[in-house]
């Protein structure tokens, strides 16, 4: 194995693509998944907006999306992706399936984090004369924040592996590089470099996530 036949500019470009896919899809995942998780929680049994029909429908949707393997989702979504962003290729083409794959996962984790919030705190907020919206924004979400950030960290790391899979359908990025050069052309060195880069990325995400959780947790 020699390092001489690695095209570093290609690696740099692939890294940048992976980071763009990750950043873009993560932002949209939080924007869609957080409210979805909150609604899943609030419409649940014994909660303030208890609604069996709405909760059942949302829960079913989330379960369906989560049960489709991501590689399949990528392909099934191609027509929808083209309709949404005009292409199913490159970084833009990867973002819709990434978000659709990750948002339900994140929503479930958010729902779980909200369930961990002490019910007494919610009751106390109502006893102080809070409106529902004030209870959710002023008490429920701040109390669940460490759990929500931990959920975002887990989701971001899942997204890293999804971006690598997205490489299969021409999304670009480090995963694509690993498959095209490392696997199809037997360039083990490229494979090693991409794997190391992905590993470093996951480590950094986990460390940043843990640090932020520690910061916001005052338990």
């Amino acid at each position: 194995m020699s390092v001489s036949n690695i095209d570093w500019s290609e690696i740099a470009q692939a890294t940048l693509d992976t980071l763009t896919m990750l950043g873009g899809s993560m932002v949209l995942t939080v924007i869609l998944g957080l409210p979805l998780g909150v609604i899943l929680f609030l419409t649940g049994k014994g909660q303030m907006l208890q609604n069996r029909a709405a909760n059942g429908a949302l829960s079913l949707l989330v379960n369906i999306l989560r049960s489709v393997p991501f590689v399949i989702l990528l392909i099934v979504m191609i027509p929808l992706t083209v309709a949404l962003v005009g292409t199913s290729l490159g970084v833009p083409g990867a973002i819709p399936p990434l978000v659709v794959g990750a948002a339900p996962f994140f929503a479930r984790l958010v729902e779980t984090a909200l369930r961990e919030v002490d019910k007494g705190v919610i009751e106390a907020s109502f006893a102080m004369g809070a409106k529902r919206r004030q209870v959710v924004l002023g008490a429920l979400l701040p109390e669940a924040m460490p759990g929500v950030i931990a959920a975002a960290t887990v989701t971001a790391i899942a997204l890293v592996s999804y971006t690598a899979m997205a490489g299969v359908v021409g999304a670009g990025g480090l995963g694509d590089l690993a498959i095209r050069f490392g696997y199809q052309r037997f360039q083990t060195d490229v494979m090693v470099v991409t794997v190391v880069l992905l590993l470093v990325l996951v480590q950094v995400l986990q460390m940043v996530g843990d640090t932020v959780v520690r910061r916001v947790s005052h338990r």
Partner: protein
């Protein structure tokens, strides 16, 4: 200030359970006067939590009416209920502070919810923290405080919107005896200094004895006894009340082997400190054996209660003399002969 008019509360039956729901309260009627400390004592599951939550509308009655400060709680709309809750503060067994907010932000929370201006929130928060003695802890988080300090934050928070009524939901049950005493002192002071009407629920007779003016005894969702704390404590009429009093004092050793007439004497106020026993014994030639007794205080009033076996001499004359001294005499039993 607060009136329960034949209030019932039945929880909807579980889908899988048989029968028709679970009655937490049945036909409860009681009234709490402005400025008094009213205790509700009962075992767990007696309906205390439900009862206190009906006052600020956290629970809705399924029958009867709860009237607080002139408002029928169940008839209030969303805004009316929020306004009522600003006039009724509440503290909890497990404090229920927001772990994500500092002490000062916890106290400020109800003021922010009410949309008060920032300058007022700040000044009022500082004033409240000073009142509960936590000014030095304003920037700490609840996790850094002791149980007693957490309950002080809870109290400051409950007082933030200047309520007329304070609800105490087992507020000292998670605290050690010393801290319990401090919190009860604070609650008593608030009652005296602010004229706050206080409703507290507890399973400890000791808490009732220390701070309450009147008490209701709850058993399986019904009020089995209520009245002034002195009366209920010294002369409990119901089995439930007797059980709670025994828990607080320990049972007198009523020994069936002893001869003579067994009576219970109750001294209240100044009579507690008079040497009545010796005087009566000398005057009537009656001998007494003390079988059990307690001398204590109910809030400010000293009281004593002694169970005696009286033998020899003129027992009837002795009893008449006790009564003349303002001592209540109850017959417990006759032994021997």
């Amino acid at each position: 200030m607060i009136a329960f008019e034949a209030v019932s509360k039945t929880y909807a039956p579980q889908a899988n359970a048989k029968g028709g729901g679970n009655a937490a309260l049945s036909e409860v009627s009681l009234s709490v006067k402005a400025g008094e400390v009213f205790g509700v004592i009962g075992a767990s599951g007696a309906g205390k939590s439900t009862l206190i939550r009906l006052i600020n509308g956290l629970e809705k009655p399924t029958g009867g009416r709860v009237v607080v400060d002139g408002d029928d709680v169940a008839a209030l709309g969303v805004e009316g209920l929020r306004a009522l809750r600003r006039r009724v503060g509440m503290i909890f067994q497990h404090f229920n502070l927001l772990s994500s907010k500092t002490v000062a932000d916890n106290v400020a929370f109800p003021l922010k919810l009410a949309g008060r201006p920032a300058a007022e929130v700040k000044a009022r928060t500082a004033e409240l923290l000073a009142r509960v003695g936590l000014s030095d802890h304003a920037t700490k988080y609840p996790a850094q405080l002791s149980g007693g300090q957490k309950q002080r934050v809870g109290i400051a928070r409950a007082l933030a919107t200047g309520p007329k009524v304070l609800l105490c939901d087992e507020a000292t049950s998670a605290l050690d005896p010393e801290t319990t005493e401090q919190i009860l002192d604070l609650v008593s002071n608030l009652n005296r200094e602010l004229g706050l009407t206080i409703v507290l629920i507890t399973h400890e007779m000791d808490v009732v004895r220390r701070v309450c003016d009147r008490v209701a005894v709850l058993e399986a969702g019904r009020v089995v006894e209520s009245g002034a704390v002195e009366d209920v404590f010294l002369h409990p009429a119901s089995d439930t009340a007797r059980r709670f009093v025994r828990e607080a004092d320990g049972e007198p050793a009523a020994d069936a082997m002893l001869a003579g007439r067994v009576v219970r004497l109750t001294f209240r106020g100044e009579a507690t400190y008079k040497p009545v026993l010796g005087e009566v014994a000398r005057a009537t030639g009656v001998d007494y054996s003390i079988l059990g007794g307690r001398i204590h205080r109910l809030r400010e009033t000293p009281y004593g209660q002694l169970t005696l076996a009286l033998t020899g001499g003129d027992v009837d004359a002795a009893i008449a003399l006790f009564q003349a001294e303002g001592v209540r005499v109850d017959h417990v039993g006759e032994n021997g002969r």
